[in-house]
Amino acid sequence: MPKQTFVLNGRTTTVNVADDVRVLWVLRDILGVTGPKYGCGINVCKACTSHINGKAFNPCAVRVGDLKPKDRITTIEGLADTAPGDLHPMQQAWLDLDVSQCGYCQPGQIMAAVALVKKVRREGREIQESDLDGIRNICRCGTYPRIRDAIRQGAARM
């Protein structure tokens, strides 16, 4: 069984698993990191959204064998450590606006929101309605309006 090595939430992690197992199952079923959720397995619902080298990605659509040893994977569990303070400002905004209902999609929503804010900043601008419209993460509880407000608030503190 091949050894797979990558950096998970700041720690170099090695796991014995076949190359073609998707990263989502390596995280959830083997490593027990359950913040990224399964909602479709085909990169549609975005519930598993996490970061690779600071950018949003969906581990359900990446073979673990395609990760490089230096690749830094951040899941919701590691997000707070990427910013000063107890929580990442985006997590705090989520609390301030009491966004979550069932909470199942929210780890992915928050990870997507953080990456989106960074992306538009790289483009030299701030979040617009059209950026929010383009978020593909599903929330079946329908918390979307509070998500929109929280992203604006979280961005202001990032």
């Binding site: 913040g35 990169n43 609390l95 069932c102 079946r140 509880c141 979307y144």
Partner: protein, 794 residues
Amino acid sequence: MTDTFRHEPEARGDDTTTTDGDASGLRRRTFMGWVLAGTTLTVAADLGLARPAAAVIPSGPQVADVYDLEDAQTDSALPTSQLIQITITEQGTAEFELPRTEVGQGILTSTAMIIAEELDLPVSKVKVTMAKARPELLFNQLTGGSNTTFSTYTPIRVAAAIARQQLLEAAAILFGTNADRLITVGGVVRDTLGNEATYGDLAVDAAKQVVEAVEVVLRPESKFRTIGKPQSRLDARDAVTGKKKFTGDLKVKDALPTMVCRPPTHRGSPQALQNQSQIERMPGVTHVAQIPTGIAVRAKTFGQCIDAIRKMQVTWNPGSAAAESDETILAELRAAEIPLAVPEVDLPGVVKTVETDCVFAFKSSAALEPYTAIADVREDSAEIWAGLKAPIVAQQDVARDCGLSPSAVTINVITGGGSFGHKLFGDHAREAAQASKAMGVPVKLMWHRADEPRQGRLHPMATSRVRATVVGGEVAAFEQRHTSILMDWSHGFGDQLTSVADELPPQLGGYTISQSIFALTQQLPYNFGVVDQLLNETLTPGDAVDERFASGSMRNIYSPDVRTAAELTVDKLAKLAKKDPVEFRLAHLKDPRVKAVLRKVAKEGNWGRRMPAGTAQGVAIHKEYKGCTAVLIEIDCRPATVNRNLGPETVTGPRVTKAVIAVDPGLVINPRGLEAQMIGGCMDGIALTLTSSNHLRDGRFLEASWDNYFYTRQWNVPFETEVHIVDSDSDTPGGAGEAATGSTAAAVACAYARATGTNPTYFPIQHEKPLAFKPKSFEPSVPQSPTNGLNRTY
């Protein structure tokens, strides 16, 4: 917490009411409950207190008939099996197991608030968890019909009030004073001399060795300090840090990932797996077993389960709907429609008939968390972990499937990742138990997303016909005939209704369960002369289920469809009368509470403002669950909006640009949670009218994931969503979980009709358009996960 609450004098004299020190001078009820035997203070109240007939204790039949006060004081047996109990710990916390299921609606938080209020304890010191299946509760452990708070509010308050009273009495002994000279402040009892003791200090002293019946008076609403104040969800931090655990996140020893290869047709069944030994040799696979619904495979990871399913060669029996498509089911519904009673008349200037005839497609109630259950079935016992809204029914079903007695089956109720009706049934728990029994090992069984809309529970297809007759300018009759594929109520809702059959209105006699629920939920609160709303289903009464479809109620049961057809008709009546839709409604609404919410949205939403062609406002009202809502929608149906291209897997279409919701829910426990429920219900209503449905073709539902089943997405979300809570003098909490869905669905339909100048008749609007997706394969039943994720980072 600086606020204080002075202890009320105990009940005296009159055995049903007492006068308190409240300036209002209102006589308040005395309730009875129990102090149970325990090492720390443990108190209980009867869940039956919520039922109006039993509200005045101690004359309640379910108490006195089985247990009188004398017995209660001496016997250590439980006074009734329907108890809910609160325990005060030595740490000063209150612990409570709620016999309902949290699926995102916020009931664990609102329940903690109710206990905190009556106990005078900070909300953070109240620990509410979900009870395991408790068969002795009979039908009183079912989460549905927006009923949780209404049905548990009084019993929980009674238990909490007894706990506070007992703590005061224990402190009185300790301080050498009388309980009515003490005050409680945030979990501490004090006297005027400076003595104080925390609830934790008193928890052991207040404990009893035998059961004792006690009476208590509840805190007057005028003194509420926690109930009615905004409170964030108690699990919010866990949710945003990834700590919140759903069933799939639990670690149960040896419960490896398990998934099911399912038939190509809806409700088909397996004949045989042709290549079992090949599948068993695949990487990671540990077990393969046939269960009634398909071929289950257990592996080291879910990814390896998917790989295995895709290689399976299975022969299948078709489902019994194999010959059916949307068109055949619609024809069946048309044939079953009960004729409208009032003849269609058109006498110019005298009598005019206004008609509406709508079709509502099948809809999937699937939540984002797929059906997931962990099962560990042994020779003589079984243990289940799952999100279940009717755990007692699941317990009975699992016991039957496994050849065990229900008492040998433990059901752990786990917080659900959404439900919307989908988790009323224990299908997932049964499958997990069947797989565990067949394999002889524990399993963590999860449905693939593709299976959810194809094989999971669906809201059945329906038609709704309305005929309103206007005589001399007045609406003289309003008939609605709703016709549906039979709804499956076997999750216990039906039993719950049957159990109170003798208390139901007599006019329900002879109705089916569906018809009773329809009659108990649907109201047309307008003065429209003779009003007559009827439900008919496509099987004769007496048929318990329509085996062709995995049907079930979905967020707001009948209301979105019924209200859409009715409110479209009200708009037509207003137009005929040359009246503004809001004015017309206000002139005909009977209930001042409904009028108040309608006036609120009209004012806050700037009703009647000038809007560009192709855009419009629409408005609708709904009255249900002891409350009412009004919704004002603004919609943009202009081509530039409708034809927005946001790439594949995306249905844009007409966009609701603004939603204004006003709700009078009765007594508000948590306004922040109520607002969240209104927003969520509104997003559901938008999807129901515009985008979300299942297409049935030759016994197969085409939709297989969120790129096919178009629930509201960010590009469909209003730019502005406002919720206004309208003050109500009601002292009864109503239901919140579903209240905004029907009114939003109807308001979106009315706005769409006005913006496009059309008369929409098939919902959702998207359903009749060319398919916006290429159906995924049926064999294999699950799609492979892509591998190009690193090309799609941002």
